[in-house]
């Protein structure tokens, strides 16, 4: 080692001056840290962009353009014999109502916007939603006494008009649109300043049913919300007891053997199987083999149950494991059987954790779309409310994410806005469920 001292260093270094090598190393250190900060920031920026895109695009769906006009319900057209016989009134189809609405709008235009280029009642067709006639027919059938009077109605404007008020439709973009012309937009501007055409909060989007491709202004997410609700009921009723029972067995009773190992490996693999494979399973087993009806929330619920079970089992086992062994020992020491110690003492103490896991599993199931596509919950118009609990489970329905997918596929850009709006509602549900889970965990979960 004495030889080493003869090799005097070539350059004199001091601890007080920073050598180039240290400088380089420190710069590397700073760079590395900056990469980390950049990565975290990128993740957060993506989150902010995603959420603000959703909000920016979706808020519009909660507002809709309405036209408020008095409509004269002509007796000569709606009740020719004048005897207010409900059966005879029902015979008048929506075609009988359309001219009345058009006349009323035309009258309003002539009064409030004189000199407009709209010269005939028929020309107002572009302003009104195709759903207006059915809306008024329903009101008239419910109150036949209205016939012959002039009644103020709030009817939906056509989706192009709605888009114009929201900035989606512009004068440039309608140049090749045969549904609406610039003269209509002029009239809309005037009527809007007079308060006849207004943008208002649209409850029908939240509670309403889906509508056909040509009338996006009428579509709502209410029916598919019910479909989701019935599916979640199935998932809750099946996955909570089965998941808890399976976890209790695996955590408390299972002997260490091949069979238990097999089940454990199975569960961790099932948790990572792509959700669409569960859809194939549902299609083959529940629909092809068991003959359950297609598109029924019951089938959707069964598929989602199988999908969420691994999640629930994994979290339930974690919360059972966190109950200290002293609790079990104390119960056994006082003469309880193994089963009694588990069901009377361990399970109640693990319950908050189990419920938290279940709610998170449900939230995951609520947002899942791919398996629902395979069991037929898309491709049609979910327009009927279920008539009762049995029909709610068995009749074809859609679900919120499937409805959003359906809207995203339709050609009319007005439906995109509704898809974003549907996402806001879906996310509100998910956030609520997660907040409940967090509160449960904070308030009731014990630290041992």
């Amino acid at each position: 080692m004495t030889d080493a001292t003869n090799n005097t260093p070539k350059a004199k270094t001091s601890l007080l001056t920073v050598s180039p090598r240290v400088k380089k190393r420190n710069a590397q250190e700073a760079r590395f840290k900056a990469y980390g900060i950049a990565a975290v920031a990128t993740g957060l920026v993506f989150l902010v962009i995603l959420l603000s895109t959703i909000l920016y695009n979706g808020v519009g769906a909660f507002q809709q353009t309405f036209i408020t006009v008095p409509i004269y319900l002509d007796e000569a057209k709606l009740d020719k014999n004048g005897n207010r016989d409900i059966e005879e009134i029902k015979k008048v189809s929506t075609f009988g109502y359309t001219p009345l609405i058009q006349d009323a709008i035309f009258a309003a235009i002539e009064e409030k916007a004189p000199g407009s280029e709209i010269t005939s009642a028929k020309d107002t067709k572009a302003l009104i939603s195709a759903s207006a006639a059915a809306q008024i027919r329903d009101v008239v059938i419910a109150n036949p006494d209205m016939i012959g009077k002039s009644v103020e109605f709030r009817i939906l404007a056509a989706s192009r008009v709605d888009g114009y008020l929201k900035g989606r439709v512009t004068r440039d973009s309608i140049a090749r649109d045969k549904n609406i012309d610039a003269k209509h937009l002029d009239v809309v501007d005037t009527l809007r300043s007079k308060g006849i055409v207004k943008r208002e909060f649209n409850m029908a989007f939240i509670t309403g049913a889906d509508a056909s491709e040509s009338r996006p202004e009428q579509a709502g997410i209410g029916v598919s919300m019910l479909g989701s609700l019935f599916m979640m009921l199935v998932v809750l009723v099946l996955s909570l007891p089965i998941g808890v029972a399976a976890s209790i067995y695996l955590e408390e009773f299972a002997p260490q053997n091949k069979w238990t190992d097999l089940i454990e490996v199975n569960i961790s693999n099932l948790a990572a199987v792509p959700s669409i494979v569960f859809g194939i399973l549902g299609l083959a087993v529940f629909i092809q083999f068991a003959g359950l009806p297609q598109s029924a929330p019951l089938v959707g619920g069964l598929v989602l149950t199988l999908m969420t079970l691994p999640t629930i089992i994994i979290s339930t086992r974690a919360s059972l494991k966190s109950v200290p062994p002293s609790i079990r020992d104390a119960a056994l020491g006082l003469g309880a059987s193994k089963m009694q110690s588990v069901f009377h003492h361990v399970l109640p103490l693990a319950m908050p954790g189990i419920l938290t896991g279940t709610i998170i599993g449900l939230a995951q199931a609520l947002g899942e779309t791919a398996p629902l596509l395979l069991i037929g919950m898309v491709g049609y118009i979910a327009s009927n409310y279920p008539s009762g609990p049995i029909s709610g489970f068995m009749d074809p329905n859609s679900a919120m994410p499937a409805q959003i997918y359906e809207w995203a596929k339709r050609a009319d850009p007005a439906y995109y806005e509704r898809a974003w709006g549907g996402i806001i509602i879906l996310l509100v549900f998910l956030i609520t469920m997660n907040i409940i889970a967090i509160i449960l965990r904070r308030r009731f979960e014990r630290r041992w």
Binding site: G43, A254, L309
Partner: protein, 490 residues
């Protein structure tokens, strides 16, 4: 007897069994619970369990087995010559079932009498019109074979249901009587009840196995069916994907696999660096406050449903990319014709995968023992050198496992590619072109009214099988690596 009534009767028997069993135990002990072996609840539960459990078990098995059995008997009776040209036995059988259901409906609505339905003849009555009047629409007129098969179907089903009712009720009563007769103060009711509860727990745990078995069977059967109609070699090595329901489709899986892998690689190229650096920063540099704030927020990305990402890709990212790379775009190049492309789907999927990579890697980095860091820092290494040369190599197997799990997610992801990647199956290198994936094609082949007998629909099961095998392989490998690694430091 309707099923609901049968269930209710068995449940009522069980309820009565609970009360009676409890009473009998109490009276045998002279009203003093101290003389009983178990708590009185257990005696009651014992009788209830014996009344209900075997009965319900048999009921469930019967309900599954009967339709299969009836189907096979009836279809065996249909002569092969009766199957019309261009049709199959299974199509004929579905007609038979429809007619049988229709007859049931007609009887319950009172259109025809029960005896009349049994003696109905196709040449004497217009069965199609009759069924149409109760709301069952048939595609063609009903011939004699179909009608007589439907009548046989109804007769067998009727006999089966009757037998089921008798057997189930007999089992319920028998179980009730057996358990009731055993009830006395020395009977070890608790042990018996706990054994049955244990059986239930085991059954619940086995559902996981059943699910896997169900997945494998439903995939295998339909895949085998598909390969009978379409050569397996052409499927695995074909480079053209052009299904046409008219026949003459080419169903090569290679373009789909290419699209899947391409999109997954792009997604991982986005997610792995960001997720890994985020995990390193959060676990090694960030203070407790930053960590408590940033970690859950990044994990929110994992909780957002994939349909949201799909919409984001279709309506926001896609059009944005077109603005840059499309004709007349910012860069003045015309590389992109539509909003959907490999990059669109890959980028968005990458965002979705960030939290998977980051939280898994975070756990693994945290599991590296502190002493290793201390040793490295004590020798004068900077923090980043410690991380690069000590922590990451030690955590490498676990991180590889995390990346493999993320890759399996990417391969199995459906909604983002259905909405963002396009529908055209291509073997192309251009990342701005629309391509399609295995999952997207499963969706497109199985939605719609295709009958499940054509190769164009069955191919979806073969695709599902491919997907299942690929993701399962990745998962097993990843779990093996992670588990192996965990043991290293425990």
């Amino acid at each position: 007897m309707p099923l609901l009534w049968l269930v209710l009767i068995v449940l009522a028997l069980a309820g009565a069994g609970y009360v009676l069993g409890r009473q009998r135990a109490m009276s045998s002990a002279g009203g003093d619970t101290r003389h009983l072996h178990s708590l009185p609840v257990y005696y009651g539960s014992n009788v209830a369990i014996f009344a209900a459990m075997p009965a319900f078990l048999v009921l469930a098995v019967w309900l599954i087995a009967q339709p299969l059995l009836v189907d096979s008997i009836v279809s065996a009776d249909i002569p092969a010559t009766a199957v019309p040209e261009g049709s199959t036995l299974s199509l004929l059988m579905s007609d038979v079932r429809r007619v049988a259901d229709g007859l049931d409906l007609a009887i319950s609505q009172g259109t025809i009498a029960a005896d009349e339905a049994k003696t109905l003849r196709a040449d004497a009555t217009d069965v199609r019109a009759l069924l149409a009047s109760v709301g069952v629409a048939l595609g063609s007129d009903v011939n004699e074979t179909t009608l007589s098969a439907a009548q046989e179907f109804r007769a067998l089903t009727g006999t089966g249901s009757m037998a089921m009712t008798v057997v189930v009720l007999a089992l319920a009563l028998g179980g009730f009587a057996y358990a009731y007769s055993r009830t006395n103060k020395d009977f070890r009711a608790r042990n018996v009840v706990e054994r049955s509860i244990r059986g239930l727990l085991i059954a619940a745990a086995s559902i996981a196995i059943l699910t896997t078995v169900g997945i494998v069977l439903s995939l295998v059967f339909n895949t085998v069916e598909f390969f009978r109609l379409y050569p397996a070699l052409d499927f695995f090595f074909g480079t053209t994907w052009s299904p046409s329901f008219g026949g003459g489709s080419e169903l090569g899986v290679l373009p789909l696999l290419w699209g899947t892998l391409y999109i997954s690689v792009i997604a991982l190229a986005v997610a792995v660096p960001i997720g890994l650096f985020a995990a390193v920063y959060l676990s090694e540099y960030a203070g407790a406050k930053v960590r408590a704030f940033a970690k859950p927020l990044i994990e929110v990305l994992a909780g957002i449903p994939t349909i949201v990402y799909g919409l984001f890709a279709l309506l926001t990212v896609g059009p944005l990319l077109v603005k840059f790379f499309g004709s007349g775009g910012t860069f003045g190049v015309d590389w992109m014709s539509g909003a959907s492309s490999v990059t669109t789907a890959g980028l968005v999927m990458g965002i979705m995968l960030i939290p998977f990579v980051s939280s898994l890697s975070d756990d693994i980095i945290n599991a590296v023992p502190q002493s290793m860091r201390d040793g490295s820092l004590g020798l004068g290494a900077t923090k980043s050198e410690t991380i690069k040369q000590v922590v990451l190599p030690a955590a490498l197997p676990g991180i590889v496992g995390a990346i493999l799990l993320a890759a399996s997610r990417a391969i199995g992801e459906t909604m983002i590619v259905v909405l963002g990647a396009g529908a055209a199956a291509r073997l192309s290198m251009n990342p701005l072109e629309a391509m399609t994936t295995v999952t997207a094609k499963i969706v497109s082949q199985l939605t719609g009214d295709a009958d499940f007998a054509s190769p164009e629909a069955l191919v979806a099961f073969a695709l599902g099988m491919t997907l299942f095998v690929m993701t399962l392989g990745l998962n097993v490998l990843a779990l093996y690596i992670v588990r192996k690694y965990r043991e290293q430091y425990e």
